[in-house]
């Protein structure tokens, strides 16, 4: 299994490099540079000479090919470059934002799994019942809610009106600050998990081996415990993995809304300031995280399902 993990890690490298190249090329066709955007935004007054000096300082006056080779060279040594804005290594900026984002992602997935999976299970065990109807209506609604609007409404209700929870910010990193953003971010994966769980349980319910289990004289509860749950789990697990990736992506909006000091806020801020090295760094870290989570899910699935080989 270790060799499988190792192999999967090796496979992730070309994808990461391809993403890096893609992002690099994307930003090298940029019409404006960091320097000129500083000027356009009216943040600083700069003359053409100052712009040229800045471009030279960041090496932006060199041809694209030269910069590309240099950039990839840096990446291979795990150097993400230097921020245009703060002149700090990108690694530092990302490192201090990583933990809050991970906290948020894990908390919202935990919320989604803890409610979505049991809900889908209950719905599937009584198809057509009121609990099935309600949970599936709730699920499709949850998928249709804009996260930042949901966040805004939660903020208005629980923070500004009722005053139970802080309205925004990281605070001292306590659970209180985490609750609202995690719910706003977790509702969509919750809805999707409920639907996937329901569908996979229903599918397995009609499987031949479940009929065998019933023919053994098992109670429905035991059929679920001994035969249904684990089989459904394998399918649900894959959805969890994919959702983890998309949660990190969606976190940008929620982080921005709740002024959460995570990777997403950093990314959005850097995009508006055209702080390209930071943007590239953030995207690479997000992609890396996505690949790692999916690898983890595949390994877990393989330990549960003996039919999946480590290939």
């Amino acid at each position: 299994m270790l060799s499988y993990v190792f192999r999967r890690l090796l496979q992730a490298i070309p994808i990461l490099l391809a993403v890096a190249a893609l992002i690099f090329l994307l930003f090298s066709v940029i019409p404006g540079s960091f320097a000129s955007s500083q000027m356009a935004d009216g943040r600083t007054v700069m003359d053409a000479e100052a712009v040229a000096r800045m471009n030279q300082q960041f090496g932006l006056d060199q041809p694209v090919a030269t910069r590309f080779v240099k950039y990839i060279g840096q990446l291979v040594t795990l150097d993400l470059g230097t921020s245009f804005r703060t002149r700090q290594p990108v690694w530092h900026l990302i490192a201090e934002r990583l933990w809050p984002t991970l906290q948020l992602a894990f908390a919202s997935m935990l919320f989604a799994i803890a409610i979505g999976v049991p809900l889908g299970f209950l719905a599937a065990l009584r198809p057509g019942s009121w609990i099935d109807m309600i949970s599936m209506v709730a699920a499709v609604s949850g998928l249709s809610l804009p996260k930042f609007w949901l966040g805004l409404m939660l903020m208005y209700l629980f923070a500004l009106t009722l005053g139970w929870l802080p309205s925004f910010g990281y605070g001292d990193g306590s659970l209180k600050n985490l609750i609202l953003p995690s719910i706003a971010l977790g509702v969509a994966p919750l809805a999707l998990l409920a639907r996937t769980t329901r569908a996979s349980v229903l599918e397995i319910m009609n499987a031949d081996f479940v009929r065998t289990a019933r023919s053994k004289g098992m109670s429905e509860r035991r059929v679920v415990q001994w035969h249904l749950a684990r089989n459904a789990l394998v399918i649900v697990l894959t959805t969890v993995g994919l959702q983890f990736g998309s949660v990190i992506g969606q976190a940008v909006v929620v982080e921005k809304l709740f002024a959460w000091p995570g990777l997403g806020s950093l990314l959005v801020d850097s995009v508006s300031l055209r702080d390209i090295p930071v943007v590239q760094g953030c995207i690479l870290v997000i992609v890396l995280f996505f690949l790692l989570v999916n690898m983890l899910v595949d390994v877990l699935a393989a330990t549960i399902d003996p039919r999946i080989r480590y290939t």
Partner: protein, 326 residues
Amino acid sequence: MSGEALLEVENLRLDLIVGARRFPAVKDVSFTIGRGETLGLVGESGCGKSITALSLIGLLRHPLAIGGGTIRFKGREIQNLSAGEMRKLRGNAISMIFQEPMTALNPLSPVGRQIAEMFVLHKGATWHEAERKAVEALANVRVPAPDRRVKDFPHQLSGGMRQRVMIAIALACRPDLLLADEPTTALDVTVQAEILDLIRDLSAAQGTAVLMISHDLGLIANMCARVGVMYAGRLVEKRPAQEVFRTPSHPYTKGLVASLPLLGARARHGRHKLKEITGVVPAVTAFPDGCRFNPRCYARTEICVAQDPGETPLPHDGLVRCHHHE
């Protein structure tokens, strides 16, 4: 009939429920199975054999349901038992083997555990004892190296081996009745014979009665003392196996027997083509009026279309359902 009746089925009716309408998928089916006896049920696919078997252990699921008749097991009516009461019988006193050994076992569970479940469920064994008994059960169904095989997952076993595991599960609690629904259809021909031998030997040794369901008349002839022939949800002929083959009475049975390649038949009767029955079994929702076989029958007359034939008793506790039986 040998011994006292173990299972008595009377006028069983199984309904297919479509909205508010109920179509009789199986109607007026009656038969008995004595202790230790083997009864065969033959017919084309879709004639109601499998759902008859499923109804006997209460495993019919929507849109199918028992619509009438009685099922008596050891003298006790079981068609209306509560779910809990039925569960005590199921697997314990009546067990079942299914057609598809590929999918009938849980792919994520070692086969040993799937056998062991039976001892935990019905014999109150601990998992530890049960796992040990599972090894014995696997040895019983002639699986080599059972102590290692119990740890295997279904996908690691061949179709024949999986069906052996299914038999081990079904016979684990020494049931009185085994329902075998096309147990060898999905298997290679060479493996088929081994599996049938296994079922015959083990059931004989344990005194287990068998309801053997197959579309294969030859197989039924080998295994069973008495044979019931089903067509479109009705039992059209029921007689001792020898007689069914020697002097089939119902036109459908005749067709089945004539379509059977018999070894040495050419020597006796000269060259002749195997006969087939034209047409297909009608859908449950579109059974014809009168005799259900009439659209395909060579002996059809007006009465066959107008009137449903009743049961005519034949010698040796047999019966036939035809206006023109011989």
